[in-house]
Amino acid sequence: MGGSLAFHAVVDLKAGKVHEANSVASLFRGYEVILKGRDPRDAMFISSRVCGVCGGVHSVTSSLAIEMAFGIAPPPMGLALRNIQLALDFMLDNPLHLYILARA
């Protein structure tokens, strides 16, 4: 499964019963540890490398986190720009997930 999640289930369709269901994350990189002690603004670059499909979303959310931490807000045009960028990222990652990564 895309997104480094492994899922395994044994289902009896005729009986309508799930015998076994397991899921496991098949990846750990420790971004929380890596982000410690860095310039806060670098979080936007580094956390976007969490996912190559939805990196823009991670970038935007870390910028939101920085704003909350510092108690600052972007100017109205900056906010609009960020929302547009986020919408464009949705337009990239949703088709990518649906047509390639989900593959079922």
């Binding site: 895309g2 997104g3 480094s4 492994a6 395994h8 044994v10 289902v11 009896d12 369709l13 005729k14 076994e20 397991n22 496991v24 098949s26 990846l27 750990f28 990189r29 420790g30 971004y31 540890v33 890596i34 982000l35 410690k36 002690g37 860095r38 310039d39 603004r41 670098d42 670059f45 580094i46 490398r49 969490v50 996912c51 190559g52 499909v53 990196g55 990518l96 390639i100 990564l101 593959r103 079922a104």
Partner: protein, 560 residues
């Protein structure tokens, strides 16, 4: 929903398959209703692809795309490649490049155990085709894991046993098992090439690059060291191009590609970002952006472009469009082994930029004003000398005294020892009669040849008048049309003004003759005749202006 979907029991098959058995008899794969494998798909493509002649010994080559500590971003960027595209590689559309059978965790037909089975076959050497490993993401130290659950895993082994007996296989183990027999090992992305972000400060998983994992003595079955295509994310075109040239080499259809001392394709990563940057011209003139959103050089905002080996400014992100600086971002050095620690904090000015930016500001302060003067002069046509006909250009005003003085000397230097014997100013003054020129000041008018007077003298000496030639009349033009020059000229050429044969490049026909000579060079005997001056020709052959000798100038009537 098809009936088949309802009747197929969706459960893992627990018994080991017979060798050679296709998965079509094992309908237990999620989503793969036909039960086809990537190998069968490739065979079908090779059989029916319509390509009768494929040079080289290899028909197909298997690619195992392994994903370690990765974010899948390298796969996504490879999808965006255009030259060549992934589809071209997968369908064998490129001559000399074998059809690629791709085993990618996201695009494979098989799933579950059927997916990892071809890995096992490759390890045993039973695949029937050479294979290439493409590795994405860095490699963690699996000795550090807790209770044997790997940092990054792909599939579980052994195959065909119950889930409780299985062991999840680390990606690093697949690399160690597959690398010795691999035809080539390609690391894609900064994580796989240098370690990247998982291997930066902090690094809880003790990550490393593929090169570090396999060691400096590693060579593939074809004798290649690890091939590195860095970038976070890398350019898809860089990756597919490297794959294409490597496959050409493996298929004996191309030379060994050139790699630099770090295993990067040398033709892609020799230049820096700065050398092809659309903003580099601002750097040269010492103009730097002080905030994002402008078009100036971003070095003072934290751009590392001058020292980073990357071709994104030359190649663009996807389909030669976009790219970091084009989109307004500064370079954070994501293709470099030092990324990210040696380039952070990303928004801070690089220390080296203090020196270089100061120097370019210094030189730019001299260069910029001088360039403005030359640029202003060249923003005017030759005809806009003293009176500017356009309302737009008039807004700019006439040239100042300083400007004229600078231009005078500039032109002297520009045309010194040049083949063009006259400066544009001199050539402008001797423009052929009949061209409408704006009125000139008295100082300039006094030096001009008067066209009516000159025409009269020319008529006296028996030279054809321009008007005659233009209308196609007169003996000389008739001779031309019958081919006296010995060359073939387009019919349209006879409708324009034309020189007499044998006439030197004179006032009347010189310019026209030049034009024709450029369009269609004369050749053979006719050409020699055309160039030879006639006996008794009183004009001065070779005079660039072609002015008639000894004809005094008369003042042009006022008001023209």
């Amino acid at each position: 929903m098809p009936d088949q979907m309802l009747t197929v029991p969706m459960m893992a098959r627990l018994d080991r398959p017979i060798e050679g058995e296709t998965s079509r008899t094992m309908p237990d794969q999620m989503g793969n209703v036909a039960g086809a494998t990537m190998d069968e798909l490739a065979d079908r493509l090779i059989e029916t692809g319509g390509r009768a002649f494929m040079p080289g010994p290899l028909k197909k080559i298997v690619v195992f795309w392994l994903s370690g500590m990765s974010c899948d971003g390298c796969s996504i960027s490879a999808l965006g490649a255009t030259e060549p595209s992934v589809e071209e590689l997968l369908t064998g559309a490129l001559p000399g490049i074998p059809t690629v059978v791709l085993h990618h965790y996201a695009t494979a037909m098989e799933s579950g155990d059927h997916f990892t089975r071809s890995f096992e076959l490759a390890e045993r050497g039973d695949l029937g085709a050479p294979y290439v490993i493409v590795y994405e993401g860095s490699i963690p130290d699996e000795n550090l894991t807790v209770e044997g659950e790997p940092w990054s895993a792909e599939g579980s082994l052994p195959l065909w046993v119950g889930s409780e007996e299985r062991r999840r296989v680390p990606t690093a183990e697949w690399v160690a098992r597959l690398a010795p027999r691999a035809a080539a090992v390609i690391a894609i992305g900064t994580c796989a090439t240098w370690g990247g972000i998982p291997a930066s400060y902090g690094n809880p998983t003790a990550s490393m690059s593929l090169m570090d994992f396999l060691g400096k003595d590693y060579r593939s079955a074809f004798g290649l060291p690890v091939i590195n295509v860095p970038g976070c994310a890398p350019l898809g075109d860089n990756f597919t191009e490297t794959v294409a040239v490597t496959l050409l080499f493996l298929n004996k259809q191309g030379p060994l590609p050139e790699f630099d001392e770090l295993g990067r394709p040398a033709w892609l990563f020799a230049d820096t970002v700065h050398r092809h940057c659309p903003r580099a011209g601002y750097y040269e003139e010492g103009t730097f952006a002080q905030e994002f959103g402008g078009k100036e050089c971003l070095v003072e905002l934290g751009c590392w472009g001058p020292v980073v080996n990357c071709n994104i400014t030359e190649r663009g992100a996807v389909g030669h469009m976009g790219g970091c600086m084009v989109a307004g971002g500064s370079c954070i050095g994501c293709t470099m082994p030092g990324f990210p620690d040696k380039f952070s904090p990303f928004y801070k000015r690089p220390p080296g930029a203090e020196v270089s930016a100061f120097t370019s500001r210094l030189t730019g302060s001299f260069i910029k004003p001088l360039r403005r003067i030359s640029q202003r002069e060249r923003n005017r046509t030759n005809l806009w000398r003293d009176k500017i006909p356009s309302g737009w250009a008039a807004e700019l005003g006439g040239p100042t005294l300083t400007h004229r003085v600078m231009e005078y000397f500039y032109e002297k230097v520009q045309y010194a020892a040049s083949e063009a014997s006259r400066s544009p100013e001199a050539r402008r003054r001797s423009t052929a009669a009949g061209t409408s020129l704006p009125p000139r000041p008295p100082t300039a008018r006094r030096t001009r040849t008067c066209r009516t007077r000159r025409a009269a003298v020319a008529r006296e000496r028996g030279l054809p008048r321009r008007r005659e030639l233009a209308l196609g009349g007169g003996a000389s033009s008739a001779r031309l049309r019958t081919g006296a020059l010995g060359n073939v000229l387009p019919e349209s050429a006879h409708r324009v003004r034309f020189p007499r044969p044998g006439a030197p490049q004179g006032r009347i026909g010189g310019r026209v003759q030049l034009r024709h000579a450029r369009a269609r060079p004369l050749a053979g005997r006719g050409a020699a005749q055309a160039q030879r001056p006639r006996q008794g020709d009183e004009r001065r052959p070779g005079h660039p202006g072609g002015r008639v000798a000894g004809v005094p100038c008369r003042r042009r009537p006022q008001g023209r």
